[in-house]
Symmetry: C2
Subunit: 330 residues, 2 copies
Protein backbone atom coordinates (compact mmCIF):
# COMPACT_ATOMS: atom_id res chain seq x y z
CA UNK A 1 0.00 0.00 0.00
CA UNK A 2 1.28 3.51 -0.74
CA UNK A 3 2.35 5.52 2.29
CA UNK A 4 1.69 9.14 3.20
CA UNK A 5 4.59 10.85 4.96
CA UNK A 6 4.67 14.27 6.55
CA UNK A 7 7.60 16.63 6.41
CA UNK A 8 8.06 17.57 10.09
CA UNK A 9 9.11 21.15 9.33
CA UNK A 10 6.51 22.23 6.79
CA UNK A 11 3.71 19.74 7.53
CA UNK A 12 3.79 18.94 3.80
CA UNK A 13 2.59 15.43 2.94
CA UNK A 14 4.09 13.32 0.21
CA UNK A 15 2.81 10.04 -1.18
CA UNK A 16 5.49 7.37 -1.38
CA UNK A 17 3.90 5.21 -4.03
CA UNK A 18 5.88 2.01 -4.12
CA UNK A 19 3.38 0.50 -6.57
CA UNK A 20 4.83 2.96 -9.06
CA UNK A 21 8.31 2.12 -7.78
CA UNK A 22 11.13 2.91 -10.10
CA UNK A 23 14.74 1.89 -10.03
CA UNK A 24 17.40 4.46 -10.91
CA UNK A 25 17.76 3.24 -14.47
CA UNK A 26 14.08 3.99 -15.14
CA UNK A 27 14.93 7.67 -14.79
CA UNK A 28 18.04 7.84 -16.91
CA UNK A 29 16.26 8.93 -20.09
CA UNK A 30 16.42 12.40 -18.54
CA UNK A 31 20.24 12.51 -18.77
CA UNK A 32 21.55 15.82 -20.05
CA UNK A 33 24.69 16.50 -22.04
CA UNK A 34 26.29 19.85 -22.89
CA UNK A 35 26.16 20.78 -26.54
CA UNK A 36 28.45 23.82 -26.77
CA UNK A 37 27.82 26.56 -29.35
CA UNK A 38 28.14 30.30 -28.70
CA UNK A 39 28.20 30.94 -24.96
CA UNK A 40 28.22 34.35 -23.28
CA UNK A 41 29.85 32.79 -20.20
CA UNK A 42 32.90 31.45 -22.04
CA UNK A 43 36.26 33.29 -21.90
CA UNK A 44 36.56 35.78 -24.75
CA UNK A 45 32.85 36.62 -24.66
CA UNK A 46 32.98 38.79 -21.53
CA UNK A 47 31.84 41.78 -23.65
CA UNK A 48 28.42 40.14 -24.11
CA UNK A 49 27.57 40.18 -20.39
CA UNK A 50 27.05 43.10 -18.01
CA UNK A 51 30.35 44.13 -16.37
CA UNK A 52 31.49 41.85 -13.56
CA UNK A 53 30.82 42.70 -9.91
CA UNK A 54 33.57 40.48 -8.56
CA UNK A 55 35.89 37.99 -10.22
CA UNK A 56 38.69 35.68 -9.19
CA UNK A 57 41.70 36.17 -11.49
CA UNK A 58 45.46 36.61 -11.10
CA UNK A 59 46.43 39.89 -9.38
CA UNK A 60 46.77 42.76 -11.82
CA UNK A 61 44.86 41.08 -14.66
CA UNK A 62 42.33 43.23 -16.50
CA UNK A 63 38.64 42.98 -15.54
CA UNK A 64 36.06 41.74 -18.06
CA UNK A 65 38.75 39.99 -20.08
CA UNK A 66 39.82 36.31 -20.13
CA UNK A 67 42.09 34.92 -17.41
CA UNK A 68 39.47 34.61 -14.64
CA UNK A 69 38.56 31.44 -12.83
CA UNK A 70 35.18 32.72 -11.58
CA UNK A 71 33.01 35.75 -12.43
CA UNK A 72 29.94 37.32 -10.80
CA UNK A 73 27.79 39.59 -12.98
CA UNK A 74 24.30 41.07 -12.84
CA UNK A 75 21.87 38.85 -14.75
CA UNK A 76 21.42 40.29 -18.24
CA UNK A 77 17.68 39.59 -18.03
CA UNK A 78 17.08 40.23 -14.33
CA UNK A 79 13.88 39.10 -12.67
CA UNK A 80 14.26 42.11 -10.36
CA UNK A 81 15.77 45.56 -10.83
CA UNK A 82 18.62 46.77 -8.55
CA UNK A 83 17.89 50.47 -9.17
CA UNK A 84 14.92 52.41 -7.90
CA UNK A 85 12.79 52.83 -4.85
CA UNK A 86 10.72 50.17 -3.14
CA UNK A 87 7.19 51.46 -3.69
CA UNK A 88 3.91 49.80 -2.78
CA UNK A 89 0.50 50.46 -4.30
CA UNK A 90 -2.96 49.01 -4.60
CA UNK A 91 -5.38 48.32 -7.45
CA UNK A 92 -8.75 47.99 -5.80
CA UNK A 93 -8.41 44.91 -3.59
CA UNK A 94 -5.06 43.90 -5.12
CA UNK A 95 -1.53 44.70 -3.89
CA UNK A 96 1.60 45.37 -5.85
CA UNK A 97 5.18 46.39 -5.11
CA UNK A 98 7.97 47.61 -7.35
CA UNK A 99 10.24 44.76 -8.37
CA UNK A 100 13.33 46.00 -6.57
CA UNK A 101 16.04 43.44 -5.96
CA UNK A 102 19.37 42.03 -7.05
CA UNK A 103 19.72 39.23 -9.57
CA UNK A 104 23.28 38.02 -10.08
CA UNK A 105 24.99 35.14 -11.83
CA UNK A 106 28.10 33.28 -10.67
CA UNK A 107 30.00 31.70 -13.56
CA UNK A 108 31.82 28.96 -11.70
CA UNK A 109 34.46 27.93 -14.20
CA UNK A 110 35.82 29.15 -17.54
CA UNK A 111 35.42 25.60 -18.95
CA UNK A 112 32.10 25.22 -20.77
CA UNK A 113 32.02 21.44 -20.41
CA UNK A 114 32.70 21.09 -16.68
CA UNK A 115 29.85 20.74 -14.18
CA UNK A 116 29.62 21.42 -10.46
CA UNK A 117 30.29 17.66 -10.07
CA UNK A 118 33.30 17.47 -12.38
CA UNK A 119 35.12 20.79 -11.86
CA UNK A 120 38.04 21.00 -9.40
CA UNK A 121 36.91 21.11 -5.79
CA UNK A 122 38.63 24.51 -5.53
CA UNK A 123 36.14 25.94 -8.07
CA UNK A 124 33.23 24.73 -5.93
CA UNK A 125 34.80 26.26 -2.82
CA UNK A 126 35.27 29.51 -4.74
CA UNK A 127 31.62 29.44 -5.83
CA UNK A 128 30.52 29.21 -2.20
CA UNK A 129 32.92 32.05 -1.32
CA UNK A 130 31.53 34.23 -4.11
CA UNK A 131 27.94 33.53 -3.01
CA UNK A 132 28.85 34.27 0.59
CA UNK A 133 30.56 37.56 -0.29
CA UNK A 134 27.56 38.70 -2.32
CA UNK A 135 25.15 37.59 0.42
CA UNK A 136 27.01 39.74 2.96
CA UNK A 137 26.88 42.66 0.53
CA UNK A 138 23.13 42.28 -0.09
CA UNK A 139 22.52 42.21 3.67
CA UNK A 140 23.69 45.81 3.77
CA UNK A 141 20.95 46.93 1.35
CA UNK A 142 18.12 48.25 3.53
CA UNK A 143 15.55 47.43 0.83
CA UNK A 144 16.32 43.70 0.92
CA UNK A 145 15.21 41.04 3.39
CA UNK A 146 16.51 37.82 1.93
CA UNK A 147 19.05 36.38 -0.51
CA UNK A 148 18.23 33.18 -2.35
CA UNK A 149 21.21 31.21 -3.67
CA UNK A 150 20.41 28.45 -6.13
CA UNK A 151 21.53 26.55 -9.19
CA UNK A 152 19.65 25.18 -12.18
CA UNK A 153 21.64 22.49 -13.99
CA UNK A 154 20.26 21.25 -17.30
CA UNK A 155 17.49 22.49 -19.54
CA UNK A 156 14.83 20.34 -17.83
CA UNK A 157 15.70 21.99 -14.52
CA UNK A 158 15.21 25.45 -16.01
CA UNK A 159 18.78 26.41 -16.95
CA UNK A 160 18.58 28.74 -19.96
CA UNK A 161 22.37 28.67 -20.45
CA UNK A 162 24.29 25.39 -20.15
CA UNK A 163 27.65 26.79 -18.97
CA UNK A 164 27.78 25.94 -15.25
CA UNK A 165 26.53 28.86 -13.14
CA UNK A 166 24.70 29.65 -9.91
CA UNK A 167 22.35 32.53 -9.19
CA UNK A 168 21.82 34.88 -6.25
CA UNK A 169 18.59 36.84 -5.94
CA UNK A 170 18.23 39.55 -3.30
CA UNK A 171 14.55 39.97 -2.42
CA UNK A 172 12.54 42.76 -0.76
CA UNK A 173 10.33 40.16 0.96
CA UNK A 174 11.06 36.92 2.79
CA UNK A 175 9.91 34.10 0.46
CA UNK A 176 6.83 32.18 1.58
CA UNK A 177 8.76 28.89 1.52
CA UNK A 178 11.31 30.37 3.93
CA UNK A 179 8.54 31.89 6.09
CA UNK A 180 6.85 28.50 6.28
CA UNK A 181 10.13 26.80 7.27
CA UNK A 182 10.83 29.44 9.91
CA UNK A 183 7.33 29.04 11.30
CA UNK A 184 7.55 25.23 11.45
CA UNK A 185 10.97 25.42 13.09
CA UNK A 186 9.76 28.06 15.58
CA UNK A 187 6.76 25.93 16.56
CA UNK A 188 9.06 23.00 17.29
CA UNK A 189 11.41 25.19 19.31
CA UNK A 190 8.56 26.61 21.37
CA UNK A 191 7.50 23.10 22.41
CA UNK A 192 10.86 21.39 22.75
CA UNK A 193 13.42 24.20 23.09
CA UNK A 194 15.45 22.38 20.48
CA UNK A 195 16.22 23.06 16.81
CA UNK A 196 14.10 20.72 14.66
CA UNK A 197 16.93 20.31 12.16
CA UNK A 198 19.34 19.30 14.96
CA UNK A 199 16.70 16.75 16.05
CA UNK A 200 16.41 15.42 12.48
CA UNK A 201 20.20 15.14 12.16
CA UNK A 202 20.39 13.29 15.48
CA UNK A 203 17.64 10.82 14.53
CA UNK A 204 18.99 10.24 11.00
CA UNK A 205 22.57 9.73 12.13
CA UNK A 206 21.52 7.33 14.91
CA UNK A 207 19.38 5.36 12.50
CA UNK A 208 21.54 5.56 9.40
CA UNK A 209 19.13 4.23 6.78
CA UNK A 210 18.54 7.61 5.13
CA UNK A 211 22.13 8.85 5.47
CA UNK A 212 23.74 9.30 2.05
CA UNK A 213 27.23 10.32 3.17
CA UNK A 214 28.98 12.51 5.72
CA UNK A 215 32.27 14.17 6.56
CA UNK A 216 33.55 16.03 9.62
CA UNK A 217 31.31 19.06 9.33
CA UNK A 218 28.34 17.96 7.22
CA UNK A 219 25.88 15.17 6.66
CA UNK A 220 23.84 14.40 3.51
CA UNK A 221 20.49 12.68 3.98
CA UNK A 222 17.52 11.56 1.93
CA UNK A 223 14.76 13.40 3.83
CA UNK A 224 11.94 11.36 5.40
CA UNK A 225 9.27 12.96 3.16
CA UNK A 226 11.02 13.81 -0.12
CA UNK A 227 9.09 15.57 -2.88
CA UNK A 228 11.04 13.85 -5.63
CA UNK A 229 13.14 10.72 -6.17
CA UNK A 230 16.68 11.14 -4.84
CA UNK A 231 15.99 14.51 -3.18
CA UNK A 232 19.01 15.03 -0.91
CA UNK A 233 19.71 17.55 1.85
CA UNK A 234 23.14 18.63 3.05
CA UNK A 235 23.22 20.05 6.58
CA UNK A 236 26.00 21.29 8.84
CA UNK A 237 26.17 18.87 11.78
CA UNK A 238 26.57 21.67 14.32
CA UNK A 239 23.83 24.27 14.70
CA UNK A 240 24.32 27.20 12.29
CA UNK A 241 21.42 29.47 11.28
CA UNK A 242 23.00 31.25 8.32
CA UNK A 243 24.94 29.97 5.34
CA UNK A 244 28.67 30.54 5.68
CA UNK A 245 32.10 28.88 5.94
CA UNK A 246 33.16 26.58 8.79
CA UNK A 247 36.42 27.69 10.40
CA UNK A 248 36.91 30.10 7.50
CA UNK A 249 36.76 27.26 5.00
CA UNK A 250 34.34 25.81 2.44
CA UNK A 251 36.47 22.68 1.92
CA UNK A 252 34.08 20.39 3.82
CA UNK A 253 30.96 21.76 2.12
CA UNK A 254 32.47 21.60 -1.36
CA UNK A 255 33.66 18.06 -0.68
CA UNK A 256 30.28 16.68 0.38
CA UNK A 257 28.45 18.60 -2.36
CA UNK A 258 30.64 17.13 -5.07
CA UNK A 259 30.37 13.67 -3.55
CA UNK A 260 26.55 13.82 -3.69
CA UNK A 261 26.51 15.20 -7.24
CA UNK A 262 28.95 12.52 -8.40
CA UNK A 263 26.71 9.87 -6.83
CA UNK A 264 23.81 11.33 -8.88
CA UNK A 265 25.92 11.31 -12.03
CA UNK A 266 26.90 7.72 -11.44
CA UNK A 267 23.49 6.18 -10.77
CA UNK A 268 21.19 8.62 -12.59
CA UNK A 269 23.61 9.39 -15.46
CA UNK A 270 24.10 13.15 -15.07
CA UNK A 271 20.53 14.17 -14.33
CA UNK A 272 19.30 17.76 -14.53
CA UNK A 273 18.87 19.14 -11.00
CA UNK A 274 18.23 22.19 -8.86
CA UNK A 275 19.86 23.03 -5.58
CA UNK A 276 18.76 25.73 -3.20
CA UNK A 277 20.58 27.09 -0.17
CA UNK A 278 18.02 27.51 2.60
CA UNK A 279 19.47 30.16 4.88
CA UNK A 280 17.83 32.35 7.53
CA UNK A 281 16.35 35.77 6.66
CA UNK A 282 18.66 38.77 7.16
CA UNK A 283 16.80 39.73 10.34
CA UNK A 284 17.25 36.30 11.97
CA UNK A 285 20.87 35.50 11.36
CA UNK A 286 21.43 34.16 14.85
CA UNK A 287 18.25 32.10 15.09
CA UNK A 288 18.29 29.36 17.70
CA UNK A 289 15.65 27.40 15.83
CA UNK A 290 16.56 27.69 12.14
CA UNK A 291 19.41 25.62 10.71
CA UNK A 292 20.70 26.40 7.23
CA UNK A 293 20.98 23.60 4.69
CA UNK A 294 21.08 22.82 0.99
CA UNK A 295 18.23 21.00 -0.74
CA UNK A 296 19.17 19.22 -3.97
CA UNK A 297 16.42 17.98 -6.28
CA UNK A 298 17.26 15.88 -9.33
CA UNK A 299 14.65 16.71 -11.97
CA UNK A 300 13.30 13.24 -12.74
CA UNK A 301 9.53 13.66 -12.44
CA UNK A 302 7.05 16.27 -13.67
CA UNK A 303 4.88 18.67 -11.71
CA UNK A 304 1.33 17.90 -12.87
CA UNK A 305 -2.26 18.64 -11.89
CA UNK A 306 -2.08 16.65 -8.66
CA UNK A 307 0.90 18.62 -7.36
CA UNK A 308 -0.56 21.99 -8.48
CA UNK A 309 -3.89 21.19 -6.88
CA UNK A 310 -2.73 19.77 -3.58
CA UNK A 311 0.76 21.03 -2.78
CA UNK A 312 1.50 17.33 -2.12
CA UNK A 313 3.93 15.28 -4.16
CA UNK A 314 3.83 11.71 -5.45
CA UNK A 315 7.24 10.12 -5.20
CA UNK A 316 7.86 6.63 -6.62
CA UNK A 317 11.18 6.14 -4.80
CA UNK A 318 11.29 5.71 -0.99
CA UNK A 319 14.17 7.74 0.48
CA UNK A 320 15.59 4.67 2.25
CA UNK A 321 16.03 3.07 -1.17
CA UNK A 322 17.45 6.24 -2.74
CA UNK A 323 19.97 6.56 0.11
CA UNK A 324 20.95 2.91 -0.27
CA UNK A 325 21.55 3.31 -4.03
CA UNK A 326 23.59 6.43 -3.30
CA UNK A 327 25.69 4.72 -0.61
CA UNK A 328 26.48 1.83 -2.95
CA UNK A 329 28.33 4.15 -5.35
CA UNK A 330 32.06 3.71 -4.87
CA UNK B 1 10.83 47.78 -13.77
CA UNK B 2 9.49 44.31 -12.90
CA UNK B 3 6.47 44.27 -10.62
CA UNK B 4 5.67 42.11 -7.62
CA UNK B 5 2.01 41.19 -7.29
CA UNK B 6 0.30 39.42 -4.43
CA UNK B 7 -2.45 36.85 -4.84
CA UNK B 8 -5.13 38.17 -2.46
CA UNK B 9 -6.31 34.69 -1.41
CA UNK B 10 -3.02 32.93 -0.72
CA UNK B 11 -0.72 35.89 -0.14
CA UNK B 12 1.55 34.32 -2.77
CA UNK B 13 3.76 36.84 -4.60
CA UNK B 14 4.62 36.58 -8.26
CA UNK B 15 7.13 38.62 -10.22
CA UNK B 16 5.72 40.01 -13.45
CA UNK B 17 8.97 40.50 -15.29
CA UNK B 18 8.16 42.51 -18.37
CA UNK B 19 11.88 42.80 -19.19
CA UNK B 20 11.63 39.11 -19.99
CA UNK B 21 8.35 39.80 -21.79
CA UNK B 22 7.28 37.20 -24.28
CA UNK B 23 4.63 37.26 -26.94
CA UNK B 24 2.51 34.15 -27.46
CA UNK B 25 4.55 32.93 -30.42
CA UNK B 26 7.67 32.75 -28.22
CA UNK B 27 6.02 29.89 -26.36
CA UNK B 28 4.77 27.85 -29.27
CA UNK B 29 7.78 25.54 -29.41
CA UNK B 30 6.03 23.65 -26.61
CA UNK B 31 3.11 22.63 -28.86
CA UNK B 32 2.10 19.01 -28.41
CA UNK B 33 0.63 16.66 -30.98
CA UNK B 34 -0.85 13.20 -30.43
CA UNK B 35 1.17 10.37 -31.88
CA UNK B 36 -1.14 7.37 -31.57
CA UNK B 37 0.25 3.84 -31.07
CA UNK B 38 -1.19 1.23 -28.71
CA UNK B 39 -3.54 2.91 -26.26
CA UNK B 40 -5.27 1.21 -23.30
CA UNK B 41 -8.00 3.87 -23.41
CA UNK B 42 -9.05 3.19 -27.02
CA UNK B 43 -12.17 1.10 -27.79
CA UNK B 44 -11.29 -2.58 -28.15
CA UNK B 45 -8.60 -2.37 -25.45
CA UNK B 46 -10.98 -2.29 -22.49
CA UNK B 47 -9.52 -5.61 -21.28
CA UNK B 48 -6.20 -3.86 -20.52
CA UNK B 49 -7.71 -1.52 -17.90
CA UNK B 50 -9.29 -2.31 -14.53
CA UNK B 51 -13.09 -2.88 -14.91
CA UNK B 52 -15.11 0.31 -15.31
CA UNK B 53 -16.86 1.92 -12.33
CA UNK B 54 -19.34 3.85 -14.46
CA UNK B 55 -19.65 4.33 -18.20
CA UNK B 56 -21.95 6.14 -20.59
CA UNK B 57 -23.10 3.76 -23.33
CA UNK B 58 -26.37 2.83 -25.02
CA UNK B 59 -28.83 1.06 -22.69
CA UNK B 60 -28.34 -2.70 -22.60
CA UNK B 61 -24.82 -2.60 -24.09
CA UNK B 62 -22.24 -4.82 -22.42
CA UNK B 63 -19.81 -3.26 -19.90
CA UNK B 64 -16.05 -3.21 -20.57
CA UNK B 65 -16.64 -3.62 -24.30
CA UNK B 66 -16.64 -1.00 -27.09
CA UNK B 67 -19.71 1.18 -27.66
CA UNK B 68 -19.18 3.62 -24.77
CA UNK B 69 -18.83 7.36 -25.08
CA UNK B 70 -17.18 7.81 -21.64
CA UNK B 71 -15.64 5.41 -19.09
CA UNK B 72 -14.51 5.79 -15.47
CA UNK B 73 -12.06 3.21 -14.15
CA UNK B 74 -9.70 2.88 -11.18
CA UNK B 75 -6.21 4.02 -12.16
CA UNK B 76 -4.14 0.95 -13.04
CA UNK B 77 -1.16 2.43 -11.16
CA UNK B 78 -2.97 4.22 -8.35
CA UNK B 79 -1.18 6.79 -6.21
CA UNK B 80 -3.47 5.67 -3.36
CA UNK B 81 -5.13 2.38 -2.47
CA UNK B 82 -8.94 2.16 -2.12
CA UNK B 83 -8.84 -0.94 0.12
CA UNK B 84 -7.66 -1.08 3.69
CA UNK B 85 -7.81 0.84 6.90
CA UNK B 86 -6.62 4.34 7.51
CA UNK B 87 -3.80 3.79 10.00
CA UNK B 88 -1.38 6.31 11.45
CA UNK B 89 2.04 5.65 12.94
CA UNK B 90 5.25 7.36 13.93
CA UNK B 91 8.94 6.76 13.31
CA UNK B 92 10.71 8.71 16.02
CA UNK B 93 9.82 12.34 15.27
CA UNK B 94 8.30 11.52 11.88
CA UNK B 95 4.65 10.84 10.99
CA UNK B 96 3.18 8.50 8.44
CA UNK B 97 -0.28 7.35 7.40
CA UNK B 98 -1.45 4.49 5.23
CA UNK B 99 -2.04 5.64 1.66
CA UNK B 100 -5.78 5.06 1.63
CA UNK B 101 -7.71 6.83 -1.09
CA UNK B 102 -9.39 6.57 -4.46
CA UNK B 103 -7.60 7.23 -7.74
CA UNK B 104 -9.84 7.10 -10.80
CA UNK B 105 -9.55 7.95 -14.46
CA UNK B 106 -12.27 9.42 -16.70
CA UNK B 107 -11.73 8.56 -20.36
CA UNK B 108 -13.66 11.41 -21.95
CA UNK B 109 -14.05 10.18 -25.52
CA UNK B 110 -13.45 6.99 -27.48
CA UNK B 111 -11.57 9.02 -30.13
CA UNK B 112 -7.82 8.98 -29.46
CA UNK B 113 -7.17 12.17 -31.41
CA UNK B 114 -9.77 14.48 -29.88
CA UNK B 115 -8.88 16.82 -27.04
CA UNK B 116 -11.00 18.52 -24.38
CA UNK B 117 -10.96 21.53 -26.74
CA UNK B 118 -11.95 19.69 -29.91
CA UNK B 119 -14.41 17.00 -28.73
CA UNK B 120 -18.17 17.63 -28.90
CA UNK B 121 -19.39 19.90 -26.13
CA UNK B 122 -21.62 17.03 -24.99
CA UNK B 123 -18.50 14.97 -24.16
CA UNK B 124 -17.18 17.78 -21.96
CA UNK B 125 -20.55 18.06 -20.21
CA UNK B 126 -20.51 14.29 -19.68
CA UNK B 127 -17.00 14.51 -18.23
CA UNK B 128 -18.18 17.04 -15.66
CA UNK B 129 -21.19 14.80 -14.90
CA UNK B 130 -18.96 11.78 -14.40
CA UNK B 131 -16.62 13.74 -12.11
CA UNK B 132 -19.59 15.07 -10.15
CA UNK B 133 -21.13 11.61 -9.72
CA UNK B 134 -17.84 10.18 -8.47
CA UNK B 135 -17.29 13.18 -6.17
CA UNK B 136 -20.70 12.57 -4.54
CA UNK B 137 -19.82 8.91 -4.14
CA UNK B 138 -16.43 9.65 -2.55
CA UNK B 139 -18.10 12.02 -0.09
CA UNK B 140 -19.87 9.00 1.40
CA UNK B 141 -16.56 7.32 2.26
CA UNK B 142 -15.86 8.16 5.91
CA UNK B 143 -12.11 7.77 5.40
CA UNK B 144 -11.95 10.58 2.82
CA UNK B 145 -11.93 14.36 3.31
CA UNK B 146 -11.43 15.75 -0.16
CA UNK B 147 -11.70 14.89 -3.87
CA UNK B 148 -9.30 16.49 -6.30
CA UNK B 149 -10.44 16.62 -9.93
CA UNK B 150 -7.80 17.52 -12.48
CA UNK B 151 -6.50 16.97 -15.96
CA UNK B 152 -2.98 16.70 -17.38
CA UNK B 153 -2.92 17.32 -21.14
CA UNK B 154 0.34 16.66 -22.94
CA UNK B 155 3.54 14.97 -21.91
CA UNK B 156 5.12 18.22 -20.65
CA UNK B 157 2.15 18.69 -18.31
CA UNK B 158 2.65 15.21 -16.84
CA UNK B 159 0.17 13.14 -18.88
CA UNK B 160 1.56 9.62 -19.11
CA UNK B 161 -1.10 8.56 -21.64
CA UNK B 162 -2.06 10.89 -24.48
CA UNK B 163 -5.68 9.76 -24.94
CA UNK B 164 -7.77 12.57 -23.40
CA UNK B 165 -8.64 11.78 -19.77
CA UNK B 166 -9.25 13.44 -16.41
CA UNK B 167 -8.44 12.12 -12.95
CA UNK B 168 -10.21 12.11 -9.61
CA UNK B 169 -8.28 11.45 -6.41
CA UNK B 170 -10.13 10.97 -3.13
CA UNK B 171 -7.84 11.94 -0.24
CA UNK B 172 -7.79 11.14 3.50
CA UNK B 173 -6.50 14.67 4.23
CA UNK B 174 -7.44 18.12 2.96
CA UNK B 175 -4.58 19.20 0.66
CA UNK B 176 -2.39 22.03 1.96
CA UNK B 177 -3.16 24.15 -1.11
CA UNK B 178 -6.88 23.86 -0.36
CA UNK B 179 -6.28 24.52 3.35
CA UNK B 180 -4.34 27.65 2.46
CA UNK B 181 -7.12 28.86 0.13
CA UNK B 182 -9.77 28.18 2.76
CA UNK B 183 -7.73 30.06 5.35
CA UNK B 184 -7.18 33.09 3.09
CA UNK B 185 -10.85 33.17 2.14
CA UNK B 186 -11.92 32.81 5.80
CA UNK B 187 -9.67 35.70 6.86
CA UNK B 188 -11.27 37.92 4.23
CA UNK B 189 -14.76 36.89 5.29
CA UNK B 190 -14.01 37.59 8.94
CA UNK B 191 -13.01 41.17 8.09
CA UNK B 192 -15.50 41.98 5.34
CA UNK B 193 -18.31 39.43 5.69
CA UNK B 194 -18.00 38.87 1.97
CA UNK B 195 -16.64 36.04 -0.16
CA UNK B 196 -13.22 37.08 -1.51
CA UNK B 197 -13.90 35.33 -4.82
CA UNK B 198 -17.18 37.24 -5.22
CA UNK B 199 -15.20 40.44 -4.57
CA UNK B 200 -12.62 39.46 -7.20
CA UNK B 201 -15.35 38.67 -9.73
CA UNK B 202 -17.02 42.02 -9.04
CA UNK B 203 -13.79 43.98 -9.43
CA UNK B 204 -12.68 42.09 -12.55
CA UNK B 205 -16.05 42.37 -14.29
CA UNK B 206 -16.30 46.10 -13.50
CA UNK B 207 -12.80 46.70 -14.77
CA UNK B 208 -12.74 44.27 -17.67
CA UNK B 209 -9.05 44.29 -18.54
CA UNK B 210 -8.35 40.82 -17.17
CA UNK B 211 -11.64 39.26 -18.33
CA UNK B 212 -11.02 36.56 -20.94
CA UNK B 213 -14.63 35.68 -21.74
CA UNK B 214 -17.96 35.06 -20.03
CA UNK B 215 -21.39 33.54 -20.48
CA UNK B 216 -24.58 33.61 -18.40
CA UNK B 217 -23.30 31.53 -15.51
CA UNK B 218 -19.51 31.82 -15.62
CA UNK B 219 -16.62 34.20 -16.14
CA UNK B 220 -13.05 33.41 -17.20
CA UNK B 221 -10.32 35.75 -15.99
CA UNK B 222 -6.56 36.07 -16.09
CA UNK B 223 -5.88 36.34 -12.33
CA UNK B 224 -4.13 39.46 -11.00
CA UNK B 225 -1.08 37.47 -9.79
CA UNK B 226 -0.75 34.51 -12.17
CA UNK B 227 1.98 31.95 -11.59
CA UNK B 228 2.43 31.25 -15.29
CA UNK B 229 1.77 32.94 -18.65
CA UNK B 230 -1.88 32.62 -19.69
CA UNK B 231 -3.02 31.11 -16.39
CA UNK B 232 -6.83 31.38 -16.54
CA UNK B 233 -9.50 30.86 -13.91
CA UNK B 234 -13.14 29.98 -14.58
CA UNK B 235 -15.56 30.92 -11.79
CA UNK B 236 -19.32 30.66 -11.40
CA UNK B 237 -20.63 34.24 -11.23
CA UNK B 238 -23.02 33.45 -8.39
CA UNK B 239 -21.64 32.23 -5.05
CA UNK B 240 -21.26 28.43 -5.00
CA UNK B 241 -18.90 26.69 -2.56
CA UNK B 242 -18.83 23.23 -4.11
CA UNK B 243 -18.34 22.05 -7.70
CA UNK B 244 -21.61 21.00 -9.32
CA UNK B 245 -24.08 21.71 -12.14
CA UNK B 246 -26.07 24.97 -12.46
CA UNK B 247 -29.80 24.33 -12.79
CA UNK B 248 -29.01 20.65 -13.32
CA UNK B 249 -26.84 21.43 -16.32
CA UNK B 250 -23.15 21.59 -17.22
CA UNK B 251 -23.85 23.28 -20.58
CA UNK B 252 -22.58 26.69 -19.46
CA UNK B 253 -19.44 25.31 -17.81
CA UNK B 254 -18.56 23.06 -20.76
CA UNK B 255 -19.15 25.99 -23.12
CA UNK B 256 -16.79 28.41 -21.39
CA UNK B 257 -14.19 25.71 -20.75
CA UNK B 258 -14.02 24.80 -24.42
CA UNK B 259 -13.94 28.45 -25.41
CA UNK B 260 -10.89 29.08 -23.20
CA UNK B 261 -9.10 25.93 -24.39
CA UNK B 262 -9.76 26.81 -28.02
CA UNK B 263 -8.34 30.29 -27.39
CA UNK B 264 -5.19 28.58 -26.02
CA UNK B 265 -5.02 26.28 -29.05
CA UNK B 266 -5.36 29.23 -31.36
CA UNK B 267 -2.74 31.57 -29.91
CA UNK B 268 -0.41 29.09 -28.20
CA UNK B 269 -0.80 26.29 -30.77
CA UNK B 270 -2.23 23.47 -28.64
CA UNK B 271 -0.07 23.88 -25.55
CA UNK B 272 0.25 21.21 -22.87
CA UNK B 273 -1.75 22.28 -19.80
CA UNK B 274 -3.16 21.29 -16.42
CA UNK B 275 -6.52 22.20 -15.02
CA UNK B 276 -7.61 21.71 -11.44
CA UNK B 277 -11.09 22.02 -9.99
CA UNK B 278 -10.77 23.87 -6.68
CA UNK B 279 -13.80 22.81 -4.68
CA UNK B 280 -14.53 23.01 -0.95
CA UNK B 281 -13.59 20.15 1.42
CA UNK B 282 -16.36 17.59 2.11
CA UNK B 283 -16.93 19.12 5.57
CA UNK B 284 -17.50 22.63 4.22
CA UNK B 285 -19.83 22.13 1.30
CA UNK B 286 -21.99 25.10 2.17
CA UNK B 287 -19.16 27.53 2.95
CA UNK B 288 -20.13 31.20 2.80
CA UNK B 289 -16.55 32.20 2.14
CA UNK B 290 -15.19 29.63 -0.31
CA UNK B 291 -16.17 29.79 -3.98
CA UNK B 292 -15.31 26.88 -6.25
CA UNK B 293 -13.47 27.52 -9.50
CA UNK B 294 -11.24 25.93 -12.11
CA UNK B 295 -7.60 26.97 -12.50
CA UNK B 296 -6.08 26.27 -15.92
CA UNK B 297 -2.32 26.49 -16.37
CA UNK B 298 -0.76 26.17 -19.81
CA UNK B 299 2.64 24.54 -19.32
CA UNK B 300 4.90 27.09 -20.98
CA UNK B 301 7.60 27.74 -18.40
CA UNK B 302 9.70 25.53 -16.13
CA UNK B 303 9.76 25.26 -12.38
CA UNK B 304 13.36 25.97 -11.41
CA UNK B 305 15.47 26.72 -8.35
CA UNK B 306 13.89 30.12 -7.78
CA UNK B 307 10.36 28.70 -7.61
CA UNK B 308 11.44 25.73 -5.45
CA UNK B 309 13.30 28.00 -3.06
CA UNK B 310 10.77 30.79 -2.68
CA UNK B 311 7.28 29.51 -3.53
CA UNK B 312 7.14 32.64 -5.73
CA UNK B 313 6.85 32.52 -9.51
CA UNK B 314 8.46 34.58 -12.26
CA UNK B 315 5.97 35.25 -15.03
CA UNK B 316 7.06 37.01 -18.22
CA UNK B 317 3.50 37.75 -19.40
CA UNK B 318 1.30 40.30 -17.56
CA UNK B 319 -2.25 38.95 -17.19
CA UNK B 320 -3.73 42.07 -18.82
CA UNK B 321 -1.75 41.23 -21.94
CA UNK B 322 -2.64 37.53 -21.81
CA UNK B 323 -6.35 38.40 -21.47
CA UNK B 324 -6.13 40.82 -24.39
CA UNK B 325 -4.50 38.18 -26.63
CA UNK B 326 -7.20 35.72 -25.58
CA UNK B 327 -10.04 38.18 -26.26
CA UNK B 328 -8.68 38.90 -29.74
CA UNK B 329 -9.25 35.28 -30.80
CA UNK B 330 -12.39 35.11 -32.94
Amino acid sequence: MPELRKDPILGRWVIISVERGKRPRDFTSITHRKKGGFCPFCPGNEYTTPPEIIAFRPAGAEPNKPGWTLRVMPNKFPALDPAGMLTKSGEGMFDRMSGVGMHEVVVETPDHYLTFATMDQKAVEDTFWACYIRLLEMKKDQRLKYALIFKNEGDEAGASLEHSHSQIIGLPIVPRTVQAEMKGARNHFETKERCIFCDIIYQEMSDGKRVVCENDGYVAIAPFAPRAPFETWILPKAHEAAFGPQQKSFVGLAGIMQRVLRQFDSILESPPYNFIIHTSPFSEEQSEYFHWHIEIMPKLTKIAGFEWGTGFYINPTPPEEAARFMREVR
